[in-house]
C-alpha cells in the first residue's frame, strides 16, 4: 500500500472541492455571518467530539473534563496571539495551546487513569473544575472579567483545515497498532495487558492526544469568538461534547461528525429556548442509553458502507 493510491487521491479531491464550494458561498454572501457562526461552531464541536471519542469511545476511558483541555488551548492560544498579532502568531498560538493542553493531559492522566468508570469520570470532572478555578484566579487571564480583544484570525480556511487534519490524524491513529492497542483496552483491559500492551502508557497517550485536539478547538474558539471567560468551559460544555459523542456513537468518528452537525442545527433552531435545548439534550442522553445505546453509528464508519458494496461486487 502506498500513500498516493486511488482512495487517498479521491479523498483529497473531495476535501478540496468541499472547501471551495463553501468558500464560494461565503464570498458571494449566501452564507452570511449568522450561518458562519453555526459553521464555526460545527467545526469546533467536530474537533472536540472526535477527540473526546478517542478517549471515551475508542479507549473506553470516561472523561468528563474535556472542556478543561479546551480552555487551556483557548487561553494559551489567545495570549500567544495577543503577543504576536499576525497569522503566524495565530498558528503558533494554536499549536502552543494544543501542546500545553497535551502536557497537562499527561500530567493529569498518569495518576488518574488508573481509576475506573465512575471514579475516573468524577476525577476528570474535578480536574476540569480545578483548571477553571485556576484560570478564574490568574492575572494573565483577567479572571472572571474575561479576556478581551483577542485577535481574530479564525476563518473558514483555518477552521476547515484544522477540522480535516483532526479527523484524518485521529482516524490514522485508530487504524494503526497503537490505536488498536487503545481499542483493546476498551474491550478488555486485563486481556490487553496479558497480550503485552502497557495499558497505562496507551491510556495516557489517548488522553493526551484527545487533550491536544481539544486544545486546538479551544484556540480556534478563542480566535473566532474573541472573548474568553472561564465559565464558558465548565461542566456544561463537557456535557455538550459528551452528548455529541453519545448521540453519534461512541467509537465512530463518522458518528461524531454527523451528530455535531445535527446538534448544531437543533441548537440554532432552539436559540431562544436555551432551557428547552438542555432538556432535549438531557432527554437525548437518557433515551439513547435506554433504547439505542450505540447511538447513530455504533462503532461503524461511513467507509464501512462502501466496503459492504465492494464485498457484494466480488461475490457477483
Amino acid at each position: 500500500m502506498k500513500v498516493f493510491n486511488k482512495k487517498n487521491i479521491l479523498t483529497l479531491v473531495i476535501i478540496v472541492v468541499f472547501y471551495a464550494v463553501v468558500q464560494t458561498l461565503i464570498s458571494i454572501g449566501i452564507i452570511n455571518s449568522y450561518y458562519e457562526i453555526t459553521i464555526a461552531t460545527i467545526c469546533i464541536n467536530i474537533i472536540l467530539a472526535v477527540s473526546l471519542n478517542l478517549v471515551t469511545g475508542f479507549t473506553g476511558q470516561f472523561s468528563l473534563g474535556h472542556a478543561g483541555f479546551m480552555s487551556i488551548g483557548a487561553y494559551v492560544g489567545a495570549i500567544i496571539n495577543m503577543e504576536m498579532n499576525s497569522t503566524g502568531g495565530f498558528l503558533i498560538g494554536v499549536i502552543g495551546g494544543a501542546v500545553a493542553a497535551a502536557v497537562v493531559g499527561v500530567i493529569i492522566g498518569i495518576p488518574t487513569l488508573r481509576l475506573k468508570g465512575d471514579y475516573l469520570a468524577i476525577a476528570t470532572l474535578g480536574m476540569a473544575e480545578i483548571i477553571r478555578v485556576i484560570f478564574l484566579n490568574m492575572e494573565i487571564t483577567n479572571g472572571a472579567a474575561g479576556l478581551n480583544g483577542i485577535p481574530r484570525y479564525t476563518n473558514w480556511l483555518w477552521m476547515y483545515v484544522f477540522t480535516v487534519i483532526t479527523i484524518i490524524l485521529i482516524n490514522n491513529f485508530i487504524k494503526s497498532s497503537p490505536g488498536r492497542a487503545c481499542i483493546s483496552i476498551r474491550e478488555d483491559e486485563i486481556a490487553a495487558e496479558a497480550m503485552g500492551i502497557n495499558t497505562t502508557k496507551y491510556k495516557v497517550m489517548a488522553f493526551a492526544l484527545g487533550a491536544f485536539f481539544a486544545g486546538i478547538a479551544g484556540a480556534l474558539y478563542a480566535s473566532y469568538f474573541y472573548f474568553l471567560k472561564p465559565n464558558i468551559f465548565g461542566f456544561q460544555k463537557s456535557i455538550d461534547i459528551l452528548v455529541i459523542v453519545v448521540f453519534g456513537g461512541m467509537g465512530s468518528i463518522t458518528g461524531s461528525v454527523v451528530a455535531a452537525v445535527l446538534l448544531a442545527i437543533i441548537t440554532a433552531f432552539l436559540q431562544q429556548y436555551s432551557e428547552l435545548r438542555m432538556i432535549i439534550y438531557a432527554l437525548l442522553l437518557v433515551v439513547i442509553m435506554l433504547f439505542r445505546p450505540q447511538g447513530l453509528f455504533g462503532t461503524k464508519e461511513i467507509t464501512d458502507l462502501f466496503k459492504f458494496k465492494k464485498k457484494n461486487e466480488r461475490i457477483e
Binding site: M1, N172, I183, A192
Partner: protein
C-alpha cells in the same frame, strides 16, 4: 537451569493465604499439568506467574537461552514481553473485534513504528502493517482459522472462541504458554481438536506448556508431568502414573475411580 523455576512462592490476601510455599520447575519443551480441587489456588498461581498478582514472598525465574530473569512482581505486559503468554479461564477475547484484529493486537509489542509514524503514515507504517497482516494470516492458516478471519470474536461458537484465545496468545511469540482450563465446557469433539492444537503448538513452535485442567482423561493422556495443588500447597508432583496412585492426591481430589 529450568525454563521456569518457582521457589517458595507465597501469596496472602490479608489473612487468607491462597498459595503457600510452592516450588515448581518446568523444563524447556515439557507439557506439564496443574490439577487440584476448585479453590486450590491454581488460577492464583497462574496470576502470580503472569503478573496479575505480585508475590508476597518467593521467586519466579524465567531462563531463556541463558538469560535468567526474575519475573515475580513484574507487570503483566512485561512478563508477556519476556516470553510467557496465557489464556483465561473465563474467555477474555476482544469480543467486538474481528479474529484478525484480536490476533494483530497480540502482535503489538513486535510492531516497529512510532506513534508519529502512525499518525503521518510513513512508508515504514505501510510496510509494517502489511507484514502484520501477513504474519497474522500465516498464524491463522496454521491454526485453521483463516475462514473466520473477519468474523467478530463474539459470534464464534464456544469451542472456536477458546481456540482463538490460544491462537491469540501464540501471536505474542511466547516461549511458554499457560493455559487456564482450556477444555472447560467443551464436548469430546472440541476436546479432541484441543489436543491436536496443543500437540501442534509443541511440535511446530517448540513451546513449553503448563496447563490447568479438570478434565482428568485429557490431563492423564497428554501431560508429561503433573503438579497437584490443594489449599494452596503443592502436595504431589511427578509422572501421571505416580500421581494417579498417590494416596494424598486420591483423598484430596481424584477419588477412587481414576
Amino acid at each position: 537451569m529450568s525454563l521456569l523455576s518457582v521457589e517458595k512462592l507465597t501469596k496472602s490476601f490479608g489473612g487468607l493465604t491462597a498459595v503457600s510455599n510452592v516450588n515448581m520447575n518446568i523444563e524447556k519443551g515439557e507439557l506439564v499439568g496443574l490439577i487440584g480441587p476448585n479453590g486450590a489456588g491454581k488460577t492464583t498461581l497462574f496470576n502470580l506467574l503472569t503478573g496479575v498478582y505480585a508475590p508476597t514472598t518467593g521467586n519466579i525465574k524465567l531462563d531463556i537461552a541463558g538469560n535468567i530473569k526474575e519475573i515475580g512482581g513484574l507487570k503483566p505486559y512485561n512478563i508477556t514481553k519476556s516470553g510467557l503468554a496465557r489464556t483465561f479461564q473465563n474467555i477474555r477475547l476482544f469480543k467486538d473485534l474481528t479474529v484478525m484484529d484480536n490476533i494483530r493486537i497480540a502482535m503489538h509489542q513486535n510492531v516497529d513504528y512510532s506513534m508519529s509514524q502512525a499518525l503521518f503514515r510513513s512508508n515504514k507504517f505501510y510496510k509494517e502493517e502489511d507484514r502484520l497482516i501477513e504474519e497474522a494470516e500465516k498464524l491463522m492458516d496454521i491454526f485453521k482459522m483463516t475462514h473466520k478471519k473477519n468474523e467478530l470474536a463474539k459470534n464464534l461458537p464456544y469451542g472456536e472462541q477458546r481456540h482463538l484465545e490460544i491462537v491469540r496468545a501464540m501471536a505474542t511469540k511466547p516461549v511458554m504458554l499457560l493455559l487456564d482450563e482450556p477444555a472447560a465446557g467443551m464436548n469430546p469433539n472440541e476436546t479432541a481438536n484441543l489436543t491436536e492444537t496443543i500437540a501442534k503448538i509443541r511440535k511446530e513452535f517448540n513451546l513449553t506448556v503448563l496447563l490447568i485442567e479438570h478434565d482428568m482423561s485429557l490431563v492423564m493422556k497428554i501431560c508429561e508431568r503433573i503438579y497437584v495443588l490443594v489449599y494452596g500447597m503443592m502436595i504431589a508432583s511427578g509422572f501421571p502414573a505416580e500421581v494417579r496412585k498417590n494416596k494424598r492426591v486420591i483423598e484430596a481430589y481424584l477419588g477412587e475411580d481414576v
